[in-house]
């Protein structure tokens, strides 16, 4: 693997709350759930999710919470950034008729492109977004539009601050109502691992097959190399074979995921 980055010129930067986005030229097919390592010389690299793309351009998004992202967000159009990637397999749900998307907080970044792709493809979408920051929802404007009554998406934004003393499993179970699950062929799930576990416990009691539940194993991709122990989950290299796995595959991972 050649670690020398390529240079891209920024087309546009955008910010919504703590989420920053940057667009640059890139030709090639991309999936939701794939990442680029983007950076600026002098600061290093950070991970950014593919949130939009056409044949010539790609938009990637990230949490603007470190020195690299702060610097990128200050750069004007045409300024240079470094890129490596794309990495990972991404979600592949376009052939499924009725799809349920479940995300938590910033994990929506990995699903934004999926929502657009599914809508363009004519799939029926149910969407549940769990937020810990109801006053400052990640990608709030897009999400509010997506779950509005005039949207083709059947969805809801769940306020996790209302969880109270009940455990996460019980809260998630009560939040995933039957109307969101009935008739669903496939699920895309993204969030922290404890959240993924809780959702999976609910889904395993439904008629949805494990093979049809795609989970983004949202592990930090610091190196972009896949050489570290941290990229491994048992015998599986997250960044070689993932990061999107089916629940069926994840059940074989050692540990207490399910």
């Amino acid at each position: 693997m050649n670690l020398v980055p390529t240079i891209a010129n920024i087309k546009k930067t955008e910010r919504e709350g703590i989420v920053g986005s940057v667009s640059f030229e890139f030709s090639g097919d991309l999936n939701a759930g794939q990442v680029f390592k983007i950076g600026t010389f002098g600061r290093g690299e950070t991970t950014a999710w593919v949130t939009d793309s056409d044949k010539k351009n790609v938009t990637v998004s990230f949490l603007d919470n470190n020195a690299v992202t702060h610097k990128i967000m200050l750069l004007p159009p045409n300024e240079c950034i470094t890129i490596r990637g794309p990495f990972g397999n991404g979600f592949s749900l376009l052939n499924e008729r009725n799809v349920l998307l479940i995300s938590q907080d910033d994990a929506i970044l990995s699903q934004k492109k999926l929502i657009n792709d599914l809508l363009q493809n004519g799939n029926q979408i149910n969407l549940l977004h769990f937020t810990s920051f109801p006053k400052d929802i990640f990608m709030g404007s897009s999400l509010n539009k997506a779950v509005s009554p005039d949207s083709p998406i059947n969805g809801d934004i769940v306020d996790m601050t209302k969880k109270g003393p009940q455990d996460l499993d019980a809260f998630v179970k009560s939040s995933i109502k039957s109307e969101y699950i009935s008739g669903i062929n496939a699920v895309a799930l993204a969030g922290n691992e404890d959240f993924q576990q809780s959702v999976s416990r609910v889904l395993e009691k439904t008629a949805i097959k494990d093979k049809s539940i795609q989970i983004l194993f949202n592990r930090n991709f610091v190196s972009g190399m896949g050489w570290s122990n941290k990229d491994l989950y048992g015998t599986t290299n997250i960044w070689k074979e993932g990061p999107v796995f089916t629940l069926d595959q994840i059940r074989r991972f050692p540990g207490v995921f399910i």
Binding site: G44, N192, N220, G226, N229, K230
Partner: protein, 340 residues
């Protein structure tokens, strides 16, 4: 394969010869504190040590390795100068058998799925000279993890200390290329003497780790043993640890710049680093020392062997002798409580 005899008195001259044509790395220091240094004088090279302080992975995979230089030339303009992989002819003298295994472990990480071109170039252009383990320290458990004390694979030349001389076995073409006028052909007397020493050394480091018990359990069963909840107590998050081990390392990219110029480096650091398992949103999927320590042990003794067919531990005892904890890895592994 050929065999020779090299007088210990001539060793320094041989090393000096090597140094004139290659970049020589060799152990320097006294018994307790030996490190591999670049181009030491032949007379300063240590041969009577049991193990180096740090594992010599830094010779092949330096902790900071430059990837490219850059210069920001103005708005929208950056010049990148790629730093080519280092293909300097290199000879590493005096690697001990656990470190030969260590290189095989690094090969598995860096040459199998995603090839690290810089590491690959160094490996291809390096001749390894192994100093057989006739004097393993008491806490060494190399043979327990499948390391041969006089390995015929993994190095280019194997030296066996037979008193006043070394019995020299060349194990590859690269090894043959280093044979010079300082060597004499070995005869049967020398051969028998060396083989006798090699035979007598067998079993000195064979501590029973009870690893055969692990085969009866699934990944999840091993991963969730209550034993791991207790065994980590007392472990110190030792950031120096990464210098002792071939596994337990992770890589990241850092930039070092001055003005509008700088260099991008690949670096490795320890699994105990604060950001090892923390996501961009602050979520830590291995929040406690317990998980990190357990993952490290299971990686070496369970998952690495499943992926690559041999243990991910070199048995060099650096963890026993050097870590700032009272833990003895041999006992941790051999005493795993499966609740039977």
């Amino acid at each position: 394969m050929s065999d020779y005899i090299l007088s210990k008195a001539k060793l320094k001259y041989w090393l000096e010869d090597i140094r004139t044509r290659n970049e020589l790395w060799a152990p320097v220091g006294s018994k307790g504190a030996v490190s591999y240094l670049k181009n030491p004088k032949g007379e300063n090279v240590a041969t009577d040590f049991t193990n180096s302080l740090d594992c010599p992975k830094y010779i092949f995979c330096p902790q900071q390795e430059a990837i490219c230089n850059y210069e920001i030339q103005g708005r929208g303009k950056v010049a990148i100068e790629e730093i080519e992989p280092d293909s300097t002819p290199r000879v590493v003298f005096g690697l001990r058998p656990p470190d030969i295994r260590g290189l095989e472990i690094l090969d598995a990480y860096l040459l199998k799925d995603q090839v690290d071109q810089r590491y690959e170039a160094k490996r291809k252009n390096t001749i390894n000279i192994c100093l057989g383990y006739h004097n393993p320290p008491p806490c060494c458990f190399a043979e327990s993890v499948g390391v041969d004390l006089f390995p015929k694979n993994g190095s280019d030349i194997l030296l066996t200390d037979i008193g006043r001389s070394y019995y020299v076995e060349t194990l590859s073409e690269k090894g043959n290329s280093l044979i010079s006028e300082h060597f004499n052909d070995a005869d049967d007397i020398v051969r028998n003497e060396a083989w006798d020493i090699q035979k007598k050394s067998q079993g000195k480091t064979n501590f029973d780790l009870n690893l055969n018990r692990w085969q009866d359990f699934t990944d999840s069963e091993i991963y969730t043993l209550p034993y791991w909840d207790e065994i980590y107590l007392g472990v110190i998050a030792d950031s120096v640890a990464t210098r002792y081990f071939y596994s337990g390392t992770y890589f990241k990219i850092v930039d070092v710049n001055s003005g509008n110029k700088g260099t991008r480096y690949k670096t490795w650091t320890t699994m105990y680093s604060p950001d090892f398992s923390t996501l961009a949103n602050g979520y830590d999927y291995k929040p406690s020392l317990k998980e990190k320590f357990k993952d490290w042990i299971l990686e070496m003794f369970h998952f690495f062997p499943k992926r690559h067919g041999f243990l991910g531990c070199s048995g060099a005892h650096r963890c026993v002798a050097g870590m700032t904890t009272k833990h003895d890895l041999r006992k941790i592994i051999s005493n795993v409580d499966f609740g039977l």
